[in-house]
Amino acid sequence: MPYVDKLPKSIEMQLTEQPLFHFGSDLMKDGQFGEQWLVLTEKEVSVWGTDGRMVSKFFVSSITDARVVGGVGGGSLLVDTKEGPIILIRYTASLTSIFGYASKLIAAVAKGEERPTASEKEFPRHCPKCRNPLPEDSQTCPVCKSNGKVLFRMLGYAKPYKIQMIAAAIMLIFTTLIELVPPFLTKMIVDNVLTKKDMGSTLLWIVIGLAATSLVVTLMQTVRGLIGVWIGSKIMGDLRHDVYHSLMKLSLSFFDRRQSSQFIGRVNNDSEAMRQFMTDGVIWVSGESLRVIAIFAIMFSMDWKLTLLAMLPMPLMVVLSTVLWPMIGRRWYQQWRSIFRLNALVGDSLQGIRVVKAFGQETTEMSRYTVANKELVRHNIRIEGLWQGMFPAFALVAGVGTLLIWYYGGRTVLDGQLSIGTLIALVTYLGMLLGPLQWVSQMINWASHAISAADRVFEIMDTPSDVPDTTNPADIGRVNGEVEFKQVTYGYEKHHPVLKNVDLKVAAGEMIGLVGHSGAGKSTFINMICRFYDTDEGTITIDGVDIRNISQSDLRSQIGVVLQETFLFDGTIAENIAYSKPDATELEIMRAAKIANAHDFIVQLPDGYDTRVGERGHKLSGGEKQRVSIARAIIHDPRILILDEATASVDTVTERQIQEAISRLVKGRTTFAIAHRLSTLRNANRLVVLERGKIIEVGTHEELLAVEGAYFKLVEAQKEMSQIKGVEVHE
């Protein structure tokens, strides 16, 4: 549910009616930041200050219309009255959509029309707690989300590998403890052997002990590392698997709202960040904290006074760590940005190298590069300098503790109250603390990154599909291809329907041409048949069965699609043709290509059917790609065929070849075709003319021309256009 702020009490008390709508804006009428409230009731529209003072009020009966006038970075809501337009309220850009809705609502109330319902997208996406805007692709507030829950869920992924995790943990404890043994042994060498000048077997045994500990530590570290890698890779695999599966199950409308490129990053980077945290992070943190505790315990048992003394600079180190790491992070980001700018610059001028040369602008480009390059050098020095200086600084601070121990410890030794060995052991242990302490704040940073990565990943997994697959699918077998729209209404945003009460019955094997201006709802019509979206109202049936009761895989196996923008996957031409039927024989593939007028050009390619296409492969021309995709549809052998501007982006000769191919393809199949060039729809049994989401005319080409309605106008308009271009019209 979208979050709407409560109307302040002081305003609510003064209202005589229940408000239909209220919303707080973030600007005053004079453009200053401030809060004002818009309240709409059945009879009045009013604007209030937060203190409950009324700013203005209008009777709905005096309003003829309402609208928004968008500015840059903000806008204002206007009502038209008989006395002219009046500005009601102003707002910044973050509230544009909600006040857009408000204007529609006011207009509808004023005109007595059907009132729009607000969709979730129109409400400003603020976190109700901290007022920070939410990221556009997420419902959880990154600033004040509950980290614990996410952490817990993330760790759930480690569950299947419990035994290995426990093994790793035990080894970790052991290695940590064993690593603490050598300084103790050194102490024994100094105290029991060197000081006493006792050359007995003790020295040998202690050295053997030292060798043994380092051997054990090495062994255990290797084994633990191997286990870590194993668990890490497994968890990473599981995560990627889950994310990708959830992505594929999501409906198209989910992707409509988002850039698809960000998902590539999500699937890979976010799961990597999570893995890193779970394996390296968790192990490192627990290992290091264990070590810190153990070291302190040992040091205190040796000499608590000196230990306390050595701890004096510790707070300073933690402070240093919390100051330096964010600084490092920022400088890294700065450096990244200058690399980004430099790369963008190079990419830009190299892509446009023809233009650069044609206009003789090489020197300008070079000097632009020089500036960006200098910038990068500067940032490089800044970050690297800080990086280089950081660890010595930590060492210096830690050194203060060591100095203190040397001085006071040395005096204690001279007084005879402490053995030299203990002193050396204390100094060594102190040195071991340096590592964990200087990384403390960076660990917190990594953890928070991992948690936000996990958050994003879980969000994808938790998003329900808008077009859920039925649990009890009807068995449709091979359909005849009768398609019926019954009172279908649909809008990408619910209050703004793109299709309105569409009724159409299509017989099996019929070819329907969809005609209309852009934005008339043609593509939406087609998307509905594929069930990329579910109807808001009404039903679509295939052979009398509601498509919502057909399993999606069954449905799609009956539908073939040829789109304007053909997409070929990375792979050979043969693989692309056999996309929907991976077990197709070579003969089937060739036949399909032959019908699609593609066989001849494919054979003449150096690599024939094995030519690699797609992003990294051979570049086929638009017409060639189109024919490959037609072959793909032919081998799919669908009962229902959808052609969306299949010939829009090719020249006339190629178009003819594709037209031929298509006319062979549509034979015996129920076909829905969209084409901008009306001449390409000549073969259609019926033409359906859509206007603003409604069917306004249905009939054959001749019938529609005869009535001289909307279709006639479209044809005339196209004739005119062709004449301007000097192209003959094929009628």
Binding site: I86, I87, P133, V143
Partner: protein, 179 residues
């Protein structure tokens, strides 16, 4: 609403080259504000109930090259410099531009913090205190000129640092960290 375009005007419009930019004679235009707060004016002898202003070079010129359009967003002409206008008109044009181009000028930076992948700026502007939240810096900071920075919020709200070299030392220091 009355339609400002009459037959005689259409004839007049035909005389003009439709591809020529119509730069107004300063004497032939005047602007005011209606009771309802709507910007309006009289242009070349014709009354417009509602006018919309566009900065043609919003980053380069604040008060020069202003496109004046009717409520359907059709261009009537261009004001070369609002200093040429009479006092009342100039005041109203200036005010309308400031309302339409909502771009508060930052007077002080209270803090710039990075919290959970979001950059949160607490700012004092000439229009009051505000907060700008960005997903990242490189896509939400623009540098139209050497010392000028435009900050854009994830929701499209914008603020301007007109000349960061004139900000106070504390603000400059905070800014320097993220530049």
């Amino acid at each position: 609403m009355s339609d400002p375009i009459s037959v005689s005007d259409e004839l007049k419009a035909q005389d003009k080259d439709p591809y020529e930019i119509n730069i107004f004679e300063p004497g032939l235009i005047s602007f005011s504000r209606s009771q309802g707060g709507v910007f309006q004016g009289v242009i070349e002898g014709k009354v417009y109930e509602e006018l919309i202003l566009f900065r043609i070079f919003p980053f380069q010129y604040n008060t020069q090259y202003i496109s004046v359009r009717n409520s359907k967003s059709e261009e009537i002409g261009v004001i070369r410099d609002i200093d040429q206008l009479d006092e009342e008109s100039r005041g109203e044009v200036d005010k309308e531009l400031q309302l339409r181009y909502f771009l508060p000028v930052v007077t002080r930076i209270d803090s710039i913090k990075q919290k959970a992948d979001m950059w949160i700026w607490e700012l004092q502007t000439n229009l009051g205190q505000t907060r700008i939240v960005m997903r990242n810096l490189h896509e939400h900071m623009q540098y139209p000129s050497l010392y000028r920075i435009i900050l854009t919020d994830v929701n499209g709200k914008r603020c301007e640092i007109r000349d960061y070299s004139t900000l106070d030392i504390q603000s400059r220091k905070k800014l320097k960290d993220v530049l």
